[in-house]
């Protein structure tokens, strides 16, 4: 069976600087990688490579066995939640979602938009312009935007930041649902406990490489946190 998300010798250099330096990875359907690392370790660059926002300088990223580099349209099977909301603040939540759904060519954009908004429990504000929503609510709309097309790979960059309890619970439920449907997740976070709660795999990234990569069930969470702190401090 082909992996949902795969990377082989994936690299990205900016001039002399190697932001991502030969990453190998395979995530099956329903698996979730928690990715930790200090600032500037290359986590965000890695996510942007997986999303098709950056073109690798070496190696390949595959989504369901198709290379993003050879078939750029494969990026339609990926969803990205980043630091920025990627929303148009002048438009309503619903308009934003419908626009996104149309970009992905969904047959019934209106219904798909409302489904995603309901999943993030923000459907009651669907008609409000995004700029009138609080930061946390905007984050929920942004998450809804990332999953409106039911992606096979979901990339999350600090998705819990700014979410209130309702939002966080909605997100966790959504991530579980997505995994049950066979999506692979990559979750970047600084909060080790939060990341490990969902993960099937965990990795620590420093200087563009995986300093550690293992299955979630082979280690103890408290020990991992201690190791991570040490690694990050030594690296810094």
């Amino acid at each position: 069976m082909t992996a949902a998300l795969e990377a082989s010798a994936l690299s990205k250099s900016f001039g002399q600087r190697r932001a991502v330096d030969g990453i190998d990875l395979a995530l099956g359907a329903g698996e979730c990688l928690a990715l930790f690392g200090p600032n500037g370790a290359g986590k965000t660059t890695l996510l942007r490579l997986f999303a098709g926002l950056l073109r690798p300088t070496g190696g390949h990223a595959y989504v369901q066995g198709v290379s993003l580099r050879d078939e750029p349209r494969t990026r339609e099977r990926v969803g990205l939640i980043s630091h920025q909301s990627m929303l148009y603040t002048a438009l309503t939540a619903r308009e934003n979602l419908e626009f996104a759904a149309r970009l992905y060519g969904l047959p019934d954009a209106g219904a798909a938009a409302m489904r995603a908004l309901e999943a993030m429990r923000i459907a009651d504000r669907a008609g409000m312009p995004v700029r009138a929503l609080s930061r946390g609510l905007q984050q929920r709309v942004s998450i809804a935007r990332a999953i409106v097309h039911d992606p096979a790979v979901v990339l999350l960059d600090e998705p819990y930041t700014g979410l209130d309890e309702v939002g966080a619970r909605a997100l966790t439920t959504q991530l579980r649902t997505l995994r049950a449907r066979g999506a692979a997740l990559v979750l970047v976070t600084h909060n080790v406990a939060e990341g490990l709660a969902l993960a099937t795999h965990a990795a620590i990234m420093t200087d563009g490489r995986f300093a550690r990569f293992e299955q979630r069930d082979v280690f103890d969470a408290t020990q991992y946190l201690a190791d991570y702190r040490e690694l990050v401090n030594v690296g810094a």
């Binding site: 990627m86 929303l87 148009y88 603040t89 002048a90 996104a100």
Partner: protein
């Protein structure tokens, strides 16, 4: 689920931009007011005994057109910049070219909207005999707007990512607008003087060639302005 075709995607992007513009109305209103204000100010700087209205009007019209067009272009990629909405377009399966074309279509409608206001305003304030040539004039306006928007959209996409975006967009675009403004003003002048269309033809040919060349060149160049 299949990604929309390039043209369908371009139209999606354009419609989204127009929806934002319709919702906020700030850019269009300020550009329209700017255009009419400019026309009025030119009137007071005008010595009507020395220069006849027919000689002055084409220049006024096309200078105003250029500067109010820049106001619209300025805003075009600024809306994508806030909250990195541009990334949302780039991770979707639509082509890079479709994003450019969509932006250009929206800008074209914006600039065209200003034209629809500015041309009658010039005719009114300068008492011009436009009735018989109005259709041809709108034809010239269409050609000029196409060229202006093709180049302006590309530079707008670049300028927004630089320091001093507000200054760079006019600096980069104005040399490119020179042939457009010259051709448009010259053919308008021929038209107003009641000369046969054939006399304006060499200018219209330049305008046509400019549109064709730069629409193709800018569409091809746009993907290179994106980080990859």
């Amino acid at each position: 689920m299949s990604a929309p075709s390039t043209l369908a995607a371009a139209w999606l992007v354009a419609r989204k931009d127009l929806a934002i513009e319709f919702r906020t109305r700030t850019a269009f209103m300020s550009a329209a007011v700017f255009a009419v204000l400019g026309i009025v100010i030119f009137y007071f700087a005008w010595d009507s005994t020395a220069v006849s209205a027919i000689d002055l009007a084409p220049g006024v019209l096309w200078v105003i057109f250029t500067f109010s067009g820049l106001l619209g272009l300025q805003r075009s990629f600024a809306v994508e910049q806030v909250d990195r909405a541009m990334d949302g377009l780039l991770i979707s399966p639509v082509d890079r070219e479709a994003i450019y074309l969509g932006k250009a279509i929206a800008n074209f409608l914006f600039v065209g909207g200003i034209q629809v206001l500015a041309i009658p305003a010039v005719a009114l304030f300068y008492n011009l005999p436009f009735e018989r040539s109005l259709l041809v004039l709108f034809g010239i306006a269409l050609l000029a707007a196409l060229g202006l928007v093709a180049v302006g959209t590309l530079f707008s996409a670049m300028a927004v990512n630089t320091r001093m975006a507000e200054l760079l967009l006019p600096m980069l675009s104005l040399p490119f607008f020179v042939p457009v403004v010259m051709a448009a003003a010259e053919s308008t002048a021929r038209l107003l003087a009641g000369r046969p269309i054939a006399e304006a033809w060499p200018w219209l040919r330049i305008l046509l060639a400019f549109d064709l060349v730069f629409i193709v060149a800018c569409t091809l160049a746009f993907p290179f302005t994106l980080e990859e």
